[in-house]
Subunit: 214 residues, 2 copies
DNA sequence: TAGATTGTTAATCGATTAACAATC
DNA sequence: TAGATTGTTAATCGATTAACAATC
């Protein structure tokens, strides 16, 4: 049961963008596309696109290009969007509630089950159709439902300990908004750290150095 | 007036993380650190850290390491955090309001001036201390205050046109939450695209392929 | 068949790591 | 001075691009 050959991180991080563009093309009614046209649209090279897709076995056809429906299907499968993953959200503060109210979890492959918060004032309320439960009931919930992932919108500080505890109880992935770099913790599960401030600082820097950059 | 030699994008994207870690170290009372210790803490190699810092002229000292205060000072200057940049926010919907209420713009180098929205029901309200103004007054505001950057939390669709218009009126950078990849538009100014869904899809994929990944 | 475009191998480019002389 | 650790050059590694034969 060998893994065919580790796909590089660079490729994996391009997959969602490919998927997004293919969905857009489909919505525009396009039925097929060549690596050259897609490259032009996305600001990549045709070569790179073909290399990337071939990491997963070619799904194109010589002389024709790539069928949009097939591509969407394949990329969706690779991303695991139809694997029926489940998630919970921890921390129904401002950020947590903003996600509950607005973010389309299903579009990214997750069914959000509910949220948890330590503040009793929030218990029982719903945001975006998701119920907030009391943190004291978390362990029992994990035991009963085994969510695949947890969204961490709790305050920083106790994040590493909570992450550890979640992983110990079977959570297999973390979407981390806490500002702590959890991937360093050796948790043994994938972590996606979201650092909005890093992004804005980068912009601050680029504004300073920019003359006529791409 | 030659540029000393383009610093690679990979390095630039590590700068905020360096800055963040240095701030944490300072808060912990640490006064100096070697590339080796910092590497260990951040999960990088000492070599890489020294290479990175030397893109901007060495700010270390042989046999001693790096002084935390100096490092914070230098990284802050490189990032332009004290350049007094200003920004406005466009679109005071759920996401926009979440940022207004919670996000610390100043910590990333920007003074947020105010927000704009097309919905008259929001005009005059404040969120997080920031006033929402009517979109019809935007042009006059740009004329009068020349903000450096704009935060785009408007619905997708009209994003490219609005981005174009902002840039034409002097905006020098965009923090883009619209879901459209604006950097492709050839706007001629730096754009930071925030795609939360890409991040979550990546996690979905990694959960599927994970066995015992780092 | 001729034209188009993939899949795939080889060449290039850039980024990371290793090594070590310089120096505090 | 001896020890530590940088700054910097050289070696390695990986990712992107180019090229082209395979084939629809």
């Amino acid at each position: 049961m060998e893994r065919k050959q580790e796909v590089s991180k660079a490729v994996i991080q391009r997959l969602p963008r490919y998927y997004r563009n293919i969905c857009e093309l489909k919505a525009e009614g396009v039925q097929r596309i060549s690596s050259r046209s897609l490259a032009e649209r996305m600001g990549l090279t045709a070569s790179q696109i073909r290399q990337d897709f071939n990491c997963f076995g070619g799904f194109g056809q010589q002389g024709y290009g790539y069928n949009i429906d097939k591509l969407q299907e394949e990329l969706g499968a690779i991303l695991g969007l139809r694997a029926g993953r489940t998630a919970i959200l921890l921390g129904a503060g401002n950020l947590g509630r903003a996600l509950l109210n607005n973010f389309d979890f299903a579009a990214s492959g997750f069914r959000l089950l509910c949220a948890f918060d330590a503040d009793p004032a929030l218990t029982g309320k719903t945001f975006g159709g998701y119920e907030v439960r009391d943190s004291s009931t978390l362990d029992a919930f994990l035991e009963a439902h085994h969510p695949d992932a947890a969204v961490l919108t709790i305050p920083r500080g106790n994040a590493p300990a909570i992450a550890r505890s979640l992983v110990d109880r079977g959570v297999r992935g973390l979407w981390n908004f806490t500002g702590e770099d959890l991937h360093l913790e050796g948790l043994g599960v994938p972590v996606e750290n979201v650092h909005l401030s890093d992004s804005l600082m980068t912009l601050c820097h680029l504004i300073g150095t920019d003359t006529a950059e791409e």
